[in-house]
């Protein structure tokens, strides 16, 4: 019975696969007309991908192997790394024919006919011709070629032993390291079979700086230790020593077998290799750093697998096996849609509970430490680590790719450009970048405004562009990437750039800049984020809707992000938005008032003044003024605000914070520095306290309150205004910003 179903599915597969071949051919024909059509390029790739994926299900390894190469070349074509010329097109036609031939072969083999050996030979020939387009060296070639290349690489080793190549950096000796000690240490891991010191890099005696290290070693080591363990011998000299660790043949075979049998479901090549022990986590991080030094999309950027093989970090056979496994994983993922829909409030509740758990665990750890029972401490610590992992896992559940948000701008750009009679193409980079769902939800509006702005203000009309020597069609790039613990979203256009003379004139008119002042270009550019700014000559139905860039900035700062603008006159404008990955974790600045700890979101902090003097205001008032560099800054005394008994004898410190264009000072007892923490929603008790936004748990287990900078600056400003009214307009000249707009 199930045999029947299988037969039916098989028949269906052959029909489908032929259809896909036809799709390849028709896409190729259409691409001859329009070689840059992304949809067609995607369709082309998908067709090959589908054939490969389904053929795998039916055990048609020859089809999978061959189509893999076709798919690779199409992927690179899709990425714009190679272009579709006549020779490539005709080669792809041949490939499509060949796939059909293989399919027929497979179908008849099923009927008992012997497979045709000439088909296999033809596969090899085509793969060789495809090689220049797949960009693969030893990595993705036919198994036979790959195996030969791998053999050549490992001929360097003596098969039974690990081979270590060490190159010590110039400062090794000066940093106090002795390579002889490290080689000696290696002997504790196993038996050092041979060491060869490289004499060639050592300068001639009269040119030698004897305190600089020029030593390199080739070492053969027999050990049962793992690659990770061997690498640990170098953990102290990591920064001053380049290490290559090449496993013995037997190990390579083990690694390949492990990769093939493990069913490792990781999506990343690097993870599969690390898990199998082919490379260490440290080697992977270094390789990725090297790879990322070249921007994505640059043709000189190499593939990870290729680099690992070339640099002799990983054996080619292992990379090959991992690549196959990775492809299998991807296919598996697309085969079954592995998603579960979950209501987001359930998720929020879970995250909230996990937050409680983290706090409870911190409390338990502290209690355990008081007992001085080391077994108890040990087990609470390991529980704490697990809870940490649960927290990270729970937070990652909320992460979604930004692609969906980006995608809707395709339509927006097309429509808006049409309205404005401009020609604009939109490019999206990094759609797969993930960030917290709540951030994604809130970033849509500011992005919409910035994109519209780019089209409306930044982009010239096609005629203007032509006159300026630019292509008629303008270009807007929306990109997202992870960057130093946050996410960086950029909106780039190649329009006219910011007209600084106009911005400056407007700023002087608004009183934001003193007449005659000459701010730096970047300062002028960022003036457009000030309240009430619009330099559009005429009010179109897009601009002048009462929403200014100041609102964009406030929205982004509300997400604890920051926005910057950079512009090249005549060359375009780039707006960079930096956002935290998640709203559940905060980079904070910790301060102390009396016996209470407060956390100020770091993105709001401008500067800290240790031991501020020149504070004015009555001793019992909540607010006052601080003379800061010839200007008066409204301040809030946190101790009075929250009724905390401050250490009165102490010199007080002030943290200067910013909310939008408003600045205020917060008077505290101690500045404790930066730290990262998880935000907990407030309990019912605090929910109505003005000036508090949330709470967190400090390392000591004690609760820290997160300050609501928005309401605190408001309080400071309101009081300052009241003062001013009392004293007439005497101090109004000290007021920098145009607060009537705020």
């Amino acid at each position: 019975m199930s045999e029947d179903i299988l037969d039916q599915a098989r028949a269906l597969f052959f029909a489908e696969a032929r259809e896909m071949c036809e799709q390849i051919e028709s896409s190729l024909l259409q691409l001859e007309e329009d070689p840059a059509d992304r949809e067609l390029l995607n369709a082309l790739f998908r067709a090959a991908h589908t054939i490969k994926g389904s053929a795998g299900l039916f055990g048609l390894d020859a089809v999978v192997g061959f189509t893999h190469h076709v798919e690779n070349s199409l992927d690179r074509l899709r990425e714009g790394l190679i272009s579709l010329d006549i020779s490539f097109t005709s080669l792809l036609f041949e490939c499509s024919d060949h796939i059909k031939l293989m399919l027929r072969d497979a179908e008849s083999a099923r009927d008992g006919a012997a497979p045709d050996p000439s088909v296999e030979q033809a596969s090899g020939g085509l793969v060789v011709r495809l090689a220049p387009f797949t960009g693969a060296s030893a990595v993705a070639q036919s198994p036979a070629v790959a195996a030969a290349a791998a053999g050549a690489g490992e001929a360097l080793t003596d098969n039974k032993n690990w081979h270590l190549s060490l190159r010590f950096g110039k400062d090794t000796f000066r940093d106090g390291f002795d390579p002889l000690a490290i080689i000696n240490y290696l002997a504790t891991l196993g038996e050092v079979m041979s060491v060869r010191v490289l004499t060639e890099p050592i300068p001639a005696f009269d040119a030698l700086d004897p305190e600089s290290c020029h030593l390199g070693f080739e070492i053969s080591l027999q050990t049962s230790a793992s690659k990770e363990q061997i690498e640990s011998a170098f953990d102290l000299v990591r920064e001053s020593c380049t290490v290559r660790i090449i496993p013995p043949d037997r190990r390579v075979a083990d690694i390949v077998a492990l990769i093939e049998s493990s069913g490792n479901g990781a999506a990343h090549l690097g993870d599969i290799l690390v898990d199998s022990g082919a490379i260490t986590r440290h080697e992977l991080e270094q390789a990725l750093a090297t790879q990322n030094a070249v921007p994505a999309g640059d043709t000189t950027r190499v593939l990870l697998g290729e680099m690992l093989v070339k640099e002799r970090i990983a054996p080619a056979t292992a990379v090959d096996a991992a690549l196959t496994q990775q492809t299998r994983n991807r296919d598996a993922k697309t085969e079954e849609a592995r998603f579960v829909r979950v209501r987001s409030d359930k998720l929020d509740e879970l995250i909230n509970l996990v937050g409680e758990l983290v706090i409870a665990s911190a409390g338990t750890t502290i209690q355990a430490q008081k007992t001085r029972d080391s077994a108890l401490v040990e087990s609470t610590l390991s529980m704490g680590r697990l809870i940490e992992e649960i927290r990270n896992g729970a937070l990652s559940l909320r992460m979604v790719p930004i692609g969906e948000t980006f995608a809707k701008f395709k339509r927006v750009v097309r429509d808006v450009a049409g309205e404005l009679a401009k020609e604009v193409s939109l490019e999206i980079i990094g759609a797969e970048t993930e960030l917290d769902k709540s951030v994604v939800e809130h970033i849509g509006d500011p992005l919409m405004h910035l994109v519209r702005n780019a089209l409306d203000h930044g982009m010239e009309t096609p005629d203007e562009r032509e006159a300026a020597g630019k292509p008629r069609c303008g270009r807007v790039v929306l990109s997202a990437c992870h960057d130093s613990g946050g996410i960086l979203i950029k909106i780039e256009d190649d329009g006219r750039g910011i007209r600084r003379d106009k911005v400056l004139a407007k700023a002087i008119e608004k009183g934001l800049v003193a007449p005659g002042a000459t701010p730096a270009d970047s300062e002028i550019d960022n003036l457009i984020f000030e309240a009430g700014f619009s330099t559009a000559d005429k009010v179109t139905n897009l601009s002048g809707r009462g929403v200014g860039m100041d609102v964009v900035r406030r929205n982004i700062e509300g997400l604890r992000g920051a926005v910057r603008i950079q512009s090249v006159t005549g060359g375009g404008t780039t707006v960079s938005i930096r956002l935290p990955l998640t709203l559940a974790i905060i980079d904070g600045f910790l301060v102390r008032v009396g016996d209470c700890s407060f956390v100020i979101p770091l993105s709001h902090v401008i500067e800290c003044i240790d031991g501020a003097t020149a504070l004015t205001g009555a001793a019992n008032e909540t607010t006052g003024m601080l003379a800061l560099r010839d200007a008066a800054l409204p301040v809030v005394h946190l101790n009075r605000m929250f009724g905390i008994k401050a250490e009165s004898s102490l010199r007080q410190s002030v943290v200067v914070v910013r909310n939008g264009t408003e600045k205020a000072g917060l008077v505290v007892d101690h500045l404790l520095g930066e730290f990262q923490t998880v935000i907990k929603p407030l309990g019912k008790m605090f929910r109505n306290v003005r000036g508090i936004a949330g709470s967190t748990i400090l390392g000591s287990g004690e609760v820290g309150l997160i300050l609501d900078i928005g309401s605190l600056t408001e309080i400071a400003r309101a009081q300052a205004d009241a003062h001013e009214h009392q004293r007439g307009s005497a101090s109004s000249s000290q007021r920098g910003a145009d607060h009537a707009n705020a």
């Binding site: 000796f173 002795d178 080689i183 041979s194 010191v197 001639a204 005696f205 004897p210 305190e211 030593l215």
Partner: protein, 101 residues
Amino acid sequence: MSARVDLPAEFNIYAVADVWRSVNAGLPGAGSSDALAIDCAQLREIDAAGVQVLLSLAHTARQRAIALQFESMPAFLSERLQALGAADLFATSHDGETRHE
């Protein structure tokens, strides 16, 4: 005239600059067919910086056809050089019994 250098008891990173200076001052030029004697009588320990000086010296001496003579070479040094696969550079100093892997 043949030059002569005494290695200190601890030939390590702290000593290499001084040793290098005194050897370099007395190092015969190319083709002088002179000899350089290195006295290891005091030598008690050596680190990689010291070994590097010896490697560079041996290499340069060979290029300039200067005969290097190690006097009272302690066993630990010849063992260490041998362990580094560098003993053949100092073949003149002992019987040339070097082992290759």
